[in-house]
């Protein structure tokens, strides 16, 4: 699906990508990780045909630079920072759908599943939406066409737990027909979504590892947590994960999406001294 041969990119004297060799097959879900400046965004831009570079990049055997429309028609892209577009939401959907030969109604429906009512915001400028709304719309646009390659740069960063759970469901629906490249500077954000991890550092691949593919993207875990004492900050954090308190106000119950467990534990780690008991059990489908 993706092939990079000796891919290098320099900006003036700085070598940002340095001889990358990479082969990615259809159906692989890759976490592209690395610290800031490691070369993740530059690699993504090379894959999108936006940068000129040394070496060779092909997607499905075609160059994204010279055969742009054919290649990019099969790629769905979610950027890390939403672009400050002044155009109304409706026009952004129509524009992207028209270029990608997609059905705008499909994008509307996907946005709806993520909790975004497109009809209510159709005439609002995209730039005026909240960070979460922008992210949901960009995800819906990327997933709203028959993309064989999904490139997502920190796609779930601005989503609340409920929207993230639906996002994982949407990815699960596409996992056998599309390759996914999910970029993040934190492995815990994406580890449970992927079956291969590629780490970049100083423009080189320093880790390329297959990981156990046991985590179901649609899995759910029932969680019960008992706090040692009532705490407003912990209560607020659990409420944001849609947990509900039992009568005593100390015990909390809720559901966590399988791929979101690391993030959930990351949140809990801030309150570890307050936690008296914690149980997590998989919910049968």
């Amino acid at each position: 699906m993706i092939r990079c041969e000796n891919l290098s990119k320099s900006f003036r004297r700085a070598r940002v990508l340095d001889g990358i060799d990479l082969d990615v097959a259809l159906g692989e879900r890759i976490a592209l990780i690395g610290s800031n400046g490691a070369g993740k965004t530059t690699l993504i831009r090379c894959l999108l045909g936006e940068y000129v570079h040394e070496g060779k990049v092909t997607i499905d055997g075609r160059s994204p630079r010279t055969e742009r429309t054919a290649v990019l028609g099969k790629i769905g892209f979610v950027p890390q920072l939403p672009p400050p577009l002044k155009m109304p939401v409706g026009q952004l959907i129509e524009f992207s759908a028209a270029l990608s030969a997609a059905d705008p109604a499909r994008i509307d429906a996907l946005a709806g599943r993520l909790g975004l009512d497109v009809a209510a915001i159709r005439s609002r400028p995209f730039v005026k939406l909240s960070g979460g709304m922008k992210q949901k719309l960009l995800i819906a646009i990327a997933l709203g066409r028959d993309a064989k390659l999904l490139i997502m740069d920190e796609p779930a960063a601005n989503l609340d737990p409920a929207a993230r759970r639906i996002f994982f469901d949407l990815l699960a629906e596409r996992q056998h027909e599309a390759t996914m490249l999910i970029s993040s500077h934190r492995i815990d954000e994406v580890a449970s979504l992927v079956n291969r991890v590629i780490e970049l550092d100083m423009g080189k691949i320093v880790l390329d590892d297959r990981v156990a593919d046991d985590v179901s993207l649609t899995g759910r875990f029932a969680c019960r947590l008992v706090a040692r004492r009532a705490d407003a900050a912990l209560a607020k954090a659990l409420a944001s994960w849609h947990f509900t308190a039992e009568a005593d106000g100390l015990a909390w119950r809720g559901e966590v999406a399988g791929p979101d467990r690391l993030r959930f534990f990351g949140m809990l780690s801030r309150y570890v001294a307050l936690i008296g008991d914690l149980s997590l059990s998989e919910v049968a489908d």
């Binding site: 831009r45 936006e50 742009r68 672009p83």
Partner: protein
């Protein structure tokens, strides 16, 4: 072709929502309103009366304002979009680079030309309502001249946007371009010629190459083609080419210059990094 029109439409919608467009449209609408308000149609200067006088004044003001407006707003918008990540996202969609670049240019052309043309059209409508005689020949030529002016400076702006790496650099280059063209207007050429530092042929060559000078000479040639009004280089050019020949040149040359600049901009844009 579909992608080109989609991109043009996108740029029009983005521009119509931008603050610069409100100011830009307001300036030209305001000029026409003020010229009517101050009774310019009733005044008589050098034989020009009624709407002719208003149109001549309007085109003089437009030639002073429009180039710098088009240059600065275009480079700010294009280079700004690139810096803000708009290019990164929109160019990840399956749109060809030619459709993107020329669609953007087409959309912007309509946006910068429409207010100028509509303001002039509004003047004509008001004149017809008030029973003032409309000089249709002058109106037609000035409309064509403004269309050429917009194409010329838009092409130059797209070239600057393609070359400049940042918004600041693009704005600086746009301002410098405008300043250079301004410095080589006939008044400066006159000074240079008096000092005898350059051959008259060179001064005339510069005057012919400078689109600002070309517009000025063409507009004035309909107004009062005298040495004292035109300046020496422009007068000599008019004398050599003849009025009609020069007026045709004034439409063709700036348009060709704008298209050539835009063509070079496209060449540089497609062979470099896009965002």
């Amino acid at each position: 072709m579909k992608a080109l029109w989609l991109t043009a439409r996108l740029d029009i919608v983005e521009s119509l929502r931008a603050r610069w467009f409100l100011v830009y449209a307001g300036v030209f609408g305001g000029i026409v309103a003020l010229l009517f308000l101050f009774g310019l149609t009733e005044s008589r200067v050098l034989g020009f009366i009624g709407l002719s006088r208003l149109l001549v004044t309007y085109i003089q003001l437009t030639m002073a304002i429009m180039p710098i407006f088009v240059l600065i707003t275009t480079v700010r918008s294009v280079a700004g979009d690139r810096e803000a990540g708009v290019f990164e996202y929109l160019l990840s969609l399956p749109v060809g680079l030619a459709a993107w670049f020329w669609g953007k240019l087409l959309g912007r052309y309509l946006v910068v030309f429409a207010p100028v043309c509509l303001a002039m059209l509004a003047a004509v409508v008001i004149a017809l309502v008030k029973g003032i005689e409309v000089p249709w020949g002058l109106f037609g030529y000035y409309t064509a001249l403004l269309a050429a002016l917009a194409a010329c400076f838009l092409g130059l702006a797209m070239l600057i946007s393609a070359v400049a790496k940042s918004t600041d650099m693009a704005q600086g280059a746009a301002f410098l371009t405008w300043l250079t063209l301004l410095l080589f207007l006939d008044l400066i050429l006159l000074g240079v010629m008096i000092q005898g530092r350059v051959a008259p042929e060179v001064a005339i060559g510069i005057a012919l190459a400078n689109p600002l000078q070309v517009f000025r000479t063409a507009a004035l040639s309909l107004f009062d083609p005298q040495l004292i009004v035109l300046g020496p280089a422009a007068w000599l050019i008019l004398d050599t080419f003849g009025g009609t020949g020069y007026r045709l040149f004034a439409l063709a040359y700036p348009t060709a210059l704008g298209l050539a600049a835009a063509g070079l901009g496209y060449f540089l844009f497609r062979r470099g990094d896009l965002p």
